[in-house]
Amino acid sequence: MEAGGDTAAPAPGVVEDLEDMRIPSEQTEDHGGVHPGPPDPEDGGLEETGSTAKDQPPSLSPLPQSEAPSSTCQLWGPGAPESSPMGSPESGSGGQGGDPTDEDWRSQRKHVFVLSEAGKPIYSRYGSVEALSATMGVMTALVSFVQSAGDAIRAIYAEDHKLVFLQQGPLLLVAVSRTPQSAAQLRGELLAVHAQIVSTLTRASVARIFAHKQNYDLRRLLAGSERTLDRLLDSVEQDPGALLLGAVRCVPLARPMRDALGALLRRCTAPGLALSVLAVGGRLITAAQERNVLAECRLDPADLQLLLDWVGAPAFAAGEAWAPVCLPRFNPDGFFYAYVARLDAMPVCLLLLGTQRETFHAMAACRRLVEDGMRALGAMRALGEAVSFSNAPSGNAPAYSVQAVGAPGLRHFLYKPLDIPDHHRQLPQFTSPELEAPYSREEERQRLSDLYHRLHARLHSASRPLRLIYHVAEKETLLAWVTSKFELYTCLSPLVTKAGAILVVTKLLRWVRKEEDRLFIRYPPKYSTPPATSADQAPHNGLFTGL
């Protein structure tokens, strides 16, 4: 799919085909259960089992025809000479760590870069962007080289690296990865990074800035937002799910309580209020939408996830915040105004999204109504119990232990229901237990995340989608299964037998069905009753564009 007809260089297509070819062969290996091969020190993943030797030769030759690409390969390739042709002049700046010749920098698993069309660095996940001007220049050259042929570059496969390019208006986003993530997954990540940038600036103002001055240094406007981007990229590796499944995670809560909170949010309105969200630790408690503003538009789960990540920022830990925010999927060119506050000194967070810029005090009054209502419901105690359960390093994220399922051998899982009634589809959700030992260390979490990403990429491979994968890895056994009713990824102990795994999954499915009212928002409070004053407000009334 990636390299299909629209890539200029035909070679990547070949590589892609070979990649797909690999899957069936591994499939049979997996089913055979003959495992594991000699552990690969670097990746420890699945694909190294014997197939490594086969697929290296073709992937070495993806870019034979142009000079620039091959020099990039050298930059990233493990065998690159120390003095790579792009080596930036200020070499030896080990402190900065952004020098492409710096070993630490080069050994990072995944780099993400954002640059302007003119090649001006905007963001780099590692190192300082100043040291990367030359590298980013190469990226711009690659893109414009292919562009000059009336085409667009999408991905380069170079040995164990994938380079994924995404052009969004005047911004160019690049991922350079040797994680097992597929190009499609990497592209999803780049889209999320772009959405994050748009959410603080709006697409229109980014376009306007660069139309006005092509070599503008966008870092001036994004200063302070880099941390948010870092956190977003870290979460993919440390706590997979939201981006992978395109769904939000809910706080497990008894249904009567959740319904009562939904009704409370519906009741507490303010002029121009468009969306009310109760969340804790980046997870959704409940949300209510305003009819007049969002009636025609479904709230995209990506937008909701972006808000959940956003309100988790340390800046919102104190005081009552009032800040503009843009929902890129809803309207990439306009701002909402967000009221964000922690309730009752709890980690529970209330977000009120309005269309009018001057309504801070009305929102603050609305918050007090919500707070009073929650106290009357005893909701703080109920939520407090959910929160105190957790010992996650992410802080106060409410979660449950995998023990709750009562299926020995089950270590972790991701479950996304697909059978939600149509009018609820606007809120894709998933559930997963807390990551417990042996997945408490960063590297272990990363490894599990890699495994989930691999399985997801195979289930959703465009050319050859699979429904069921049973995979015996070095340290665990995994079973991934997609049906019309759910999408499920389970991580089991390595000693489980195939029959045992099926038993565990059956148990898990039964448990989820029993608990689904608690785990998911089955009946989201979709629309709030319109306040009397909002009838005459045009939906876009308060959507200010630009800065």
């Binding site: 302070g224 919102f316 800040a323 009305a362 800065l547």
Partner: protein, 234 residues
């Protein structure tokens, strides 16, 4: 319901320490640096008055909201970093214009923060309350440098502001009274700054009350018939 009687706004370039100053005063601690998003609202009880304080983001990204936070403000705290002359320049270039929406008799304080990083500040350092954990520079005291911005520069800016606001020096507090040098890290002069301002704001509040509704469309001092929500849809 708590309703603010007067408003104070903190303005200044990013990383000069606005949030740290306020946290030092409100919570008696020097927290990890966080980059403020938009603006954060705090309420402080001072005598029988509720004073609202807006801690604003210094980033250019949120510049558009600045005048909104300043609307009807009784006092504006213009903050700079004594080690970065540019941060003082920015006050005049970027932030002074935002104060147009402030109340007519708005007070201005000019605050040079981070004196603990200067040679003079290092010598003074009055109350060395345990440096909070998570201080990024970690370990020993950071290197100190001669102060880059002198108090005279702040006084000069203060006089410029008076001219800009077309105020007579005789009608407003003297420059010496309104220019501060502080350290949010050690707490040096922080209480003095906020409490001096609170005391000065009280007469403004009383005057505004006497005059009835204030001159601008100010939802903070507007008295709606039911709660505050009616304030903005009128």
């Amino acid at each position: 319901m708590r309703k603010p009687d007067g408003k104070i706004v903190l303005l200044g370039d990013m990383n000069v320490g606005k949030t740290s100053l306020l946290q030092r005063y409100m919570e008696r601690r020097f927290p990890d640096t966080v980059s403020t998003v938009g603006g954060a609202f705090y309420l402080k009880q001072w005598r029988s008055y509720n004073i609202s304080i807006w801690d604003t983001a210094g980033r250019e990204q949120f510049h558009g909201l600045g005048s909104m936070y300043c609307r009807g403000a009784a006092a504006v705290i213009l903050t700079y970093d004594v080690n970065h002359p540019q941060s003082l320049v920015e006050l005049e270039d970027r932030f002074l214009g935002l104060t147009e929406t402030a109340s007519k008799d708005c007070l201005f304080a000019i605050v040079g923060n981070k004196v603990d990083l200067t040679e003079e500040g290092a010598r003074e350092r009055p109350e060395q309350e345990g440096c909070s954990p998570g201080r990024p520079s970690g370990g020993g005291a950071p290197p100190t440098l001669p102060k880059q911005v002198r108090p005279e520069d702040a006084v000069a800016l203060y006089k410029k502001i008076l001219k800009y606001r077309m105020l007579d020096e005789k009608d407003v507090p003297a420059a010496e009274q309104m220019c501060f040098e502080t350290s949010a890290k050690t707490g040096y002069n922080v209480d003095l700054l906020f409490e001096t301002l609170f005391d000065m704001v009280v007469p403004t509040i009383l005057r505004q009350r006497a005059e009835g509704l204030s001159q601008t469309v100010d939802i903070t001092s507007y008295k709606p018939p039911k709660r505050t929500r009616a304030g903005c849809c009128a």
